[in-house]
Amino acid sequence: MRDMFEETVERLLAQELTHEVRIEAEAGRWPERLWSAIEENGLTLAAVSEARGGVGGTWHDAFVLIQAAGRHGAPGLLAETIAVNWLLDEVGLDPVAGPATLAIFEGGAEQGRFSGVLRDVPWLEASGHVLLAADGELLLFAVPREIGRSLNIAREPRDAARLEDATPVARAPLGALPGDVVLLAGAMIRSAQIAGGLSRLLDTAVDYANQRVQFGRSIGKFQSIQHQIALLAEHMSLATATAETAFALAATKISPFAVAAAKSVSSEAAGQGAAIAHAVLGAIGFTYEHSLHFTTRRLWAWRSEFGGQTYWAKRIGEGVCRAGGSGFWPQLVAGSVPA
């Protein structure tokens, strides 16, 4: 399943995700054509059971799709919609049609109606629905009318809105899912996107180093460049392995620790990897014309979203210290460190 997913998404994004689509999306235009192709290929239903009209892949299978979305810097809500539909499926709800997003909710409910604030929500204005967790339930809302817009470093919309006595269009108890499942899902997709973005950086850095000549030889022959790129490959590999582990475990049961580890590792790798790629590419990589920044700006944005490294590392550290030195290893092996 994973191979098929990967082939489909790579083919699709290679076809539809032109440089122009990227530039227009950063100027605020929703990538309509790309999105239609994504939906037609069933990618948004990747992790939805066949019984509910999905493709029947697991959340682990979906990892390669979200990684590819990160590798190509796909604008729009591919990653978020896959996650929303996976979570809906997990609690026994049907998937949504069209782009959907997910949000952390600060507020409360009165007689089944919800009021409160949604902040830093990916592409909220372009979404049909927004998913959130509150009061032990997973809740799906139509997107509110009034939207406050803001942009991350990659000029991806991170919107804000208020719910005022809003009624969900679908709801179901969280069941076995943790109360902060939306945050965990958001952190997982960002980790996978970062892993994908890092793989793009690595390809770019290797190609450039082999082709660029200085002091009479390709810069890829310089030990300093070689070592920096080796380090980039290490960051990429560690981020990818940690993120995939979080997805693989969550396909059975979400491990908040594995998610925290994935986001801590990938957020650190994002910064280090971007710095290395820019150092290798030098002045060329600092121009708007070169595509490098379409990846590095995303890495700089994604590392802070759904909790940055500090948030997640502290969660782990607090759990580890609570459990003490003797409990550490068995919990690490089981992926059950309290976090």
Partner: protein, 382 residues
């Protein structure tokens, strides 16, 4: 033994006298500068600001009075520079002219050249840029191909320069170009020229950077006619003249204060009661900054005494680059603020901007590879 001891250097009282003067100027002007423009600081081009600064007598601090300077010393210039940078004043318009071009002309230029250019520089109205890199030279400056060929009394210039900061907003460029064929000495046969950027045959193409702004340029020279007095210093001596500038270029406070605005916004975003992680990192960076400033002052003293602290200057530059590039990385760890383009808190905006600009800090004035190579050679590694 290392080539420099970075001996403790106190700014002399006469230099400290300038501190209150420049602080008063800043206090009056800085309110009108947005937080994002302050984050830009020495990359921020603001001709009106430079003009006011010149009118207030705060450019050309170390230049002789006969050229409209203040006739004060290197430390006075240092004090004024660091205060402007620390405040995030937009100094980019006049910065290179003041730091590099005027001193170069004072040292190597003719009296006519000095009289022609330096007063305008000191008034904050004449701006210079420096033409060094070329499309295929990268860090290997000895491989440049732009060439000036003798023609009558003067020269004809052909070739192109790239990554030239502010060329699109400057009046003149001082360029390093080839004036002879290949010589045995990789660094021989080069000369420095002053080029009027409005002269026929000069085309300036701004390069949009990843933030969408234009700081850098590519400049094309097609049969550009240069007068005899466009030559700076001695023909064929260009490489040596350029190398002598480098210590000035690499040791100044702009090598560790160009992302300084972010330190201030981070301190304020953290607030008066930091947790252990916040206190540790803010304290650690502050300590480094304090020590690095001491090193930079020591290099200033060596320069002032007529020494050639090329090694020490490269050391300051490389540590400074590390500190400046580390700052956004640390800042994003210390608060939950996500960086934002457009509307957002001071911290969110400044963090977004300087995170993107940080890669450029190791482009200007020598990559880290180049600098560390210089340091290694200076330590006699062989």
């Amino acid at each position: 033994m290392v080539p420099s001891r970075f001996a403790y250097t106190r700014t002399p009282p006469e230099a400290e006298g300038f501190r209150e003067e420049v602080r008063s100027f800043i206090a009056a002007e800085i309110g009108a500068i947005s937080i994002l423009d302050r984050a830009d600081s020495w990359m921020g081009f603001d001709a009106a600001f430079s003009r006011k600064l010149g009118a207030a007598g705060l450019i050309g601090i170390a230049m002789p009075k006969r050229y409209g300077g203040r006739g004060a010393g290197a430390f006075a210039r240092y004090v004024v520079s660091e205060e402007l940078l620390a405040a995030g004043a937009p100094v980019s318009a006049h910065w290179i002219a003041d730091r590099q071009s005027a001193p170069l002309l004072l040292r190597y230029g003719t009296e006519a050249q000095r009289e022609r250019y330096i007063p305008g520089i000191n008034q904050g109205t004449t701006y210079f840029c420096i033409g060094m890199s070329e499309p295929n030279s990268g860090s290997d400056l000895a491989s440049i191909g732009t060439r000036a060929v003798r023609s009558g009394d003067g020269w004809v210039l052909n070739g192109r320069k790239i990554w030239t900061t502010n060329a699109h907003r400057s009046h003149f460029m001082i360029a390093l170009v080839r004036t002879e064929g290949k010589s045995d000495d990789r660094h021989g046969g080069m000369s420095q020229f002053i080029i009027d950027l409005k002269a026929p045959g000069v085309t300036v193409r701004p390069i949009t950077d990843l933030t969408g702004q234009e700081h850098f340029n590519e400049i094309f020279f097609d049969d550009v006619a240069l007068d005899a007095d466009a030559l700076v210093g001695v023909e064929g001596n260009g490489w040596k003249q350029v190398m002598a500038e480098l210590a000035f270029e690499r040791s100044g406070p702009e090598r560790f204060l160009s992302s300084h605005t972010l330190l201030g916004t981070t301190i304020d975003a953290v607030g008066p009661a930091p947790d252990a992680l916040q206190a540790f990192h803010i304290g650690r960076l502050t300590a480094k900054l304090f020590g690095l400033r001491a090193m930079s002052l020591a290099v200033t003293a060596e320069l002032d005494a007529g020494g050639d602290p090329a090694w020490a200057a490269s050391c300051v530059k490389d540590i400074g680059t590390g500190l400046e590039q580390e700052l956004p990385e640390v800042a994003q760890l210390l608060t939950d603020e996500e960086p934002r383009i457009g509307p957002g808190s001071d911290q969110a905006q400044v963090l977004a901007y300087l995170t993107q600009m940080a890669p450029s800090f190791s482009l200007r004035g020598g990559t880290r590879e180049i600098l560390r190579g210089i340091l290694a050679r200076g330590l006699d590694l062989r």
